[in-house]
């Protein structure tokens, strides 16, 4: 046989995109109906480059190996009561937040990639999205399994999916992904594969997982790093899709730029929760949020945008504000949760003196000037037996749904308020970025299920906040919420450790 040996690239093409064919009997547009309405122009799907040429047999083999290692560690963790090795019980609240806020997003990613993994007309892109879809299912399931042991010993994990659909601060991540999934298929990929996975996800996983390692949490480190090994494939899909769209047609450039602007801002707003986890919730610190932002966004993201400049893509809009925000967001976010700690499904606390000093050192420009005095005051009140909780329900930003607590970045004593009128109604925003996003698609954001509005409208059960928390959110009041001091979590920890 006159064999011209196939190289890897040609072989992969035969084993994936060559499976598809030009339709003769049905209208292909009816089979792939969502490709055109966003205005993106695809002239030739065959120009799609597959960065990783993973066939299913190799996928099963490598993924099974990862899973085998991962579950061996989960088993050992449970058998050895691994939860006793974490630095202190405050740490566990970071992973409560992770399970209730982030894991359901992995599920939405599974659904979103399943959708585009069916709807794209190009087989190469479709297969890449399908693999990401099943990977994302892996992530949510391994996270549930990693937390399963913690759930048996700590409060606040038990009703994570019920909470995700309802609780006020969890509407921030939920609405982020609802926004992406309800968009067209190309915007979804720019939102999640590019802006989130490629530009921002390192900020979620890498420092946070190193943090878990630093705080004795083997279960989380293991699922985190094991998930990240899939993430490298996902990030690369993000970079491929953007290059592909930009190379397909010049008319795509402004559309893509608009999506980058929107999703960069949506992403940074959502990551303010991660900022607070890093700076306040990890007892042993790895790096400050500001440092993480500099390494993973300013440096790595800077290189990326320099690379994309040849297509006419510029840095995301409002990036200059994030440069200032890195000094502030973690402090402002934790302060919001400290104030509303009675309505949160995890515990809050005042940083220890040592931690306050660390924050002063890491944030020399801002911490002593703006934030330390607040904590000193909170300390004083707590010492007098007057730990306070803000009873009033906060106003939420219509776009990102975070309570209005972020300040003007040039005047950190002034809460930022923006508003726009649409169809005779006034809508409120925490920032120029969020206002801008709303004004571009008001018909979408007027639909937002804003938890505080919903409570006021009586859609969340009872008349009082306590009833909403207990009956609608299904929180165990007095166990899941309030300060860590005096909590059942803290009490059990002391018993386990034999301290009074």
């Amino acid at each position: 046989m006159s064999a011209k040996k196939l190289n890897l690239k040609d072989k992969y093409r035969l084993l994936t995109r060559d499976l598809d064919w030009e339709y003769s009997y049905s209208d292909r547009k009816k089979a792939f109906p969502y490709e055109e309405f966003e205005g993106i122009k695809i002239t030739d799907w065959s120009k799609w480059e597959d960065p990783f040429r993973l066939t299913m047999d190799a996928y099963w083999k490598y993924q099974a190996e990862k899973e085998k290692k991962l579950y061996a560690i989960f088993d050992a963790f449970a058998q050895n009561n691994g939860h006793l090795n974490v630095t202190d019980p405050r740490y566990v609240n970071a992973i409560k937040l992770f399970l209730t806020a982030v894991s359901p997003l992995e599920y939405q990613a599974f659904q979103g990639y399943a959708h585009v993994g069916r709807q794209f007309g190009g087989a190469g892109a479709r297969v890449a999205c399908q693999m990401q879809s099943i990977d994302e299912l892996r992530h949510v399931q391994t996270q549930i399994h990693a937390m399963s042991h913690y759930n048996k010993y700590f409060d606040g994990f038990q009703d994570w999916s019920h909470m995700h659909d309802r609780v006020w601060y969890l509407s921030v991540p939920k609405s982020f992904f609802d926004d992406a999934r309800s968009a067209g298929p190309f915007e979804f990929l720019i939102a999640i594969s590019f802006s989130f996975e490629y530009v921002l996800t390192n900020l979620l996983f890498v420092p946070f997982m190193s943090g878990a390692a630093h705080n004795g949490d083997m279960a989380t480190v293991t699922f985190g790093f094991s998930a990240q090994s899939d993430e490298a494939r996902h990030m690369t899909l993000g970079l491929e899709i953007i290059k592909f769209l930009l190379e397909q047609h010049e008319d795509n450039v402004p559309i893509v730029q608009k999506w980058i602007d929107k999703w960069f801002w949506r992403g940074t707003r959502m990551l303010s929760v991660v900022a607070m986890m890093m700076d306040y919730m990890l007892p042993n610190k790895v790096m400050s949020w500001k440092e993480a932002w500099e390494v993973y966004f300013e440096e790595a993201g800077g290189a990326l945008f320099k690379d994309l400049a040849r297509y006419g893509i510029r840095m995301p809009k409002f990036v200059e504000i994030t440069e200032k925000e890195k000094e502030h967001v973690s402090h402002q976010a934790w302060w919001i949760f400290y104030n509303h700690g009675h309505a949160a499904g995890f515990h809050t606390w005042i940083p220890s003196d040592q931690e306050l000093d660390w924050l002063s050192e890491k944030y020399p420009e801002t911490f002593d000037k703006y934030y330390r005095p607040r904590w000193e005051l909170a300390k004083k009140l707590e010492a007098e037996g007057k730990r306070f909780y803000t009873q009033a329900l906060p106003q939420l930003c219509t776009t990102c749904q975070i309570p209005m607590g972020f300040t003007e970045m040039d005047d950190p004593t002034q809460i930022a308020y923006r508003d726009s009128v649409y169809n005779g109604e006034r809508y409120h925003f925490c920032s120029d970025g969020c206002q801008h996003i709303f004004e571009d698609e008001p018909e979408k954001y007027v639909q937002s299920w804003l938890p505080v509005h919903q409570i006021y409208q009586g859609n969340c059960g009872g008349a009082s906040v306590e009833e909403v928390l207990r009956d609608y959110y299904q929180m165990n009041l007095g166990a899941d919420n309030l300060d860590i001091k005096g909590s059942p979590d803290e009490q059990r920890w002391k018993e386990w450790k034999g301290v009074a």
């Binding site: 089979a31 399994h145 609802d178 979408k444």
Partner: protein
Amino acid sequence: MTIEIKTSTLEPIRNTYANIERRFGDKPATRYQEATYDLQAETNFHYRPLWQPDKELNDKTRTKIVMEDWYALKDPRQFYYGAYVQQRAKMQEQAENNYAFFEKRDLQAYLSESSKEKIIRFLIPVRHIEHTANLNNMYACSFGYGTALTQALVYNAMDRLGIAQYLSRIGLLIDGNSGDSLIQAKEHWMQDPIWQGVRALCEELTTVEDWFEVMLAQNLVMDSLVYELFIDQLDQALNAEGARDIAMLLEFMQQWNKETTRWFDSVIKTVASESAANAEQMSIWVKHWRAKAAEAFAPVIHALFDETSLQQALTLLDNRSRKAGLTL
């Protein structure tokens, strides 16, 4: 030496997550349960999809089938991701050994030209049917409801891609890695009159809107015929004419089909037994697609086997349907 472990203070405060406890009581749960039930968002969606503004993101009304609880569709294999990939890794290791053995011993050299032709004309084109199965399972996964079913559908979709790739590799094994057999097989798929009915049916299936209908037409109607005819009967026919070594290349598909049939039969049985309306709707769909498939497959099957083969496959489909509680 005695080791004293203070177990009393390490009593767990709960056995499992609250949603699992509500469903199954306060007792330790399996990994399958914790990784399956109630994962999908149920309520308070923020925005309507731009691509389907009359529906919520997760919406039960995307099919005519009605279930009180879509999580009733438990997977008898209890596949969550980890269990799934480990099972497939075992199967692929065996398949890999078989394919490597076939290549190393150059077993294609023992195939007659007519057997090779048969493989190229009748077996390799099945990879395009499997590609359609990938699309259809992905479709049902993305529009379907409840993780119990949708996770099994993504596994199925990826399996189909894998099977399409194994079938393609059979082509590469017999054409000395040139890819020529795949090109020829695709020409059959695109031009050969005997295949056009099946191709038209595959194309049509990807335009059907109701995801449950798509899933049923694919995983019950199409698969009953395709696996009986092209994987089992064709394997036997090749065996009879001396092309026995092909059998080891089809083991994966045969084992897979047996396992997957068990899962899908349990799905349709549960749905049919939920209500008379479900059973009736499913019966209408099966009748509709059975008639179309019988017509579409007739030319290719008549070119390959005698009259009884297609009848045998249709009987198998009918038996599966009746066992699930459908009336044809």
